[in-house]
Amino acid sequence: MTGFVVRRIGQMALALLGVSVIVFALIHFVPGDPVRTALGTRFDPDVYEALVRRHGLDRPLVIQYFSWLGSALQGDLGVSFRSGQPVTGLVLERLPATLTLAGAALAVALVVGVPLGVVSAVRSGSKLDYIASAVSQVGVSVPDFWAGIMYILLFSLTLGWLPPSGYVSPLVDFTGWLRHLVLPALAVGLVSGSIIFRFVRSAVLEALNQDYVRMARAKGLSRRAVLFDHVLPNAWIPIVTVVGLQLGFLLGGVVVVEIIFAWPGIGRLAYLAVGDRDFTVLQGSVLYIATMFLVINLVVDLLYAWLDPRVRYD
């Protein structure tokens, strides 16, 4: 187990290093001079000079990378080409909003996907299974941003139940915050929920067909006891892995949905940075999102190891 944890953390560090190379390289993919491009019509030779020197863009690439990495490790991701504000601050300010939305969407996805998936598998072939499977087939094919727009159209503009977009701090107005959270969380969460439903269903079906399930029944255990004591503990293992991978999809969905709902998170920050050609802010946003994803997957893998004695005792 310790070996597994160490190996897994090492892998994550390596992946993070790779991500840093990609993120660093971003600026250098920009055709021409990124700072000049970013400044555009607001070009000012003094600002230009300052930015180039601040980011050491006049030095050789390798040196640039390591000094950038060194600063990044200390939490310094440079300053916005646009506003001159420190990138780390800009990203960290928006991190809680993104985490909230991602967490709420995940909660929706799990609450919808897991119980329905289990019931569908246990009653496979039933009417409920048929309907749930059909709905999930639709769910996985709906673009989350379109779903978001349709929810706004229906629940905000037509029915007037919920605000169409925006954000209030939960410290100021908790119910207001909650009301703003519902639609974007549903937009991302229901799509992910459909996907999770399908995995849970197939994982539980698979576990139900194992010999040890038949053995447990032959010992005289009730269906219920077999389900909770033998089927689900085995089904969780693949489900946990899949939910981990799913979070990448979910984070991607959050990024796009933030834009639709004017949700002040990292996704919206990145989007605005793209429009402004504010490459340092874009770098920072991508780095943080990728780190979030990697950390979540690390946690998921450790959870996996904890759930599976075959890994735990190796």
Binding site: Q11, L14, A15, L16, G18, V19, I22, V23, L26, I27, F29, V30, P31, Q137, V138, V140, S141, V142, P143, F145, W146, I149, M150, I152, L153, L157, I195, R198, F199, S202, P238, T241, V242, L245, Q246, G248, F249, L251, G252, G253, V255, V256, I259, I260, G267, A270, Y271, A273, V274, G275, R277, F279, L282, V286, I289, A290, F293, L294, N297
Partner: protein
């Protein structure tokens, strides 16, 4: 020298009958057939789009702007009075094109990487797969946004970005299938008679990993089209005045209350296309890949 010939014939027959049973299984799956029918229709519509579309894509008619669906304009008109139906139909071409080209790129990069990594194993395997892990550790849409931000918003760049983003999936699936084969008897046999690696991979390994790749291709097409729609929605894909479903959606957002059809119909088009590829992919998986090797990878990201 007659024996190898006979063997080949047997192989061909076996192959053909496998293809046939596969086709039969897929056709028995109602959902897959439904998906296939939608897809065939879509491709036909895309091919014949200029003939079908009642208006040209940029026929501005300000007098008739923001009109609801009618017999003249089935899907209504947009803020410039352009016919939404015509634009949705024409846009199917670019969606399918981006889908096919970007998945082609992902296949072209990912499959060889997976074959090499799985076949040779060892250090090459670790290096290649770690590289794939790194690509995999940035959520796809975010990576695509980043690539497009750097390269500049453009449809060709979008295809490259989506292609790169989906490469690791194909690499992983191919590698996974190759691993189960590397020590198979027929591979050992080929090796023992001194066949070259390239020959073994081409003749023995590749044909046996093709099933999960086909399944993955169909599922990835669904997600590539979703990704293109998202990127165009963000203004990073197809550039105006050319129509794209994602772009039309984002333009429609500004006229939500007056003209909801501007957002509804392009969204339905995306949904139908993605649904069709998903349904076909699921049907193919049931037929070709009963162990569902592809399932974990398929929906992991977008």
């Amino acid at each position: 020298m007659t024996e190898p010939a006979a063997e080949t014939t047997v192989g061909v027959v076996a192959h053909r009958s496998r293809l046939r049973t596969t086709a039969e299984t897929v056709l028995r799956n109602r959902l897959a057939v439904f998906g296939l029918v939608i897809l065939v229709l879509l491709v036909l519509v895309a091919l014949a789009a200029p003939l079908i579309a009642p208006y040209t894509i940029n026929e501005v008619d300000v007098a008739n702007r923001l009109q609801g669906p009618s017999s003249q304009h089935w899907f209504g008109t947009d803020e410039l009075g352009r016919d939404v139906f015509s634009r949705v139909i024409i846009a199917s071409r670019v969606s399918l094109q981006v889908g096919f080209v970007s998945v082609g790129i992902a296949l072209g990069l990912g499959v060889p990487v997976g074959l090499i990594a799985g076949y040779y194993g060892g250090r090459i395997d670790s290096i290649l797969m770690r590289l794939m892990d790194i690509l995999f550790s940035i959520p796809a849409i975010v990576l695509a946004i980043a690539i497009l931000a750097a390269l500049g918003p453009d449809i060709v760049n979008a295809m490259i970005a989506i292609g790169v983003v989906y490469t690791p999936i194909f690499a992983r699936i191919t590698r996974g299938s190759v691993l189960t084969l590397r020590d198979a008897v027929f591979v050992q046999a080929a090796r023992s008679i001194g066949a070259s690696d390239l020959r073994i991979i081409g003749n023995h390994v590749f044909p046996n990993v093709i099933a999960p790749i086909i399944v993955q291709t169909s599922l990835s097409l669904a997600f590539a089209i979703l990704a293109e729609a998202a990127l165009s929605f963000l203004g990073l894909g197809v550039q105006p005045p050319n129509p794209a479903w994602g772009r039309m959606l984002s333009e429609g957002r500004a006229f939500f209350q007056q003209a909801p059809w501007m957002a509804i119909f392009p969204g339905l088009a995306i949904f139908a296309t993605v649904f069709a590829f998903n349904a076909l992919g699921d049907g193919l998986r049931d037929a070709l890949d009963p162990q569902q090797r592809s399932i974990i990878e398929s929906r992991g990201r977008s």
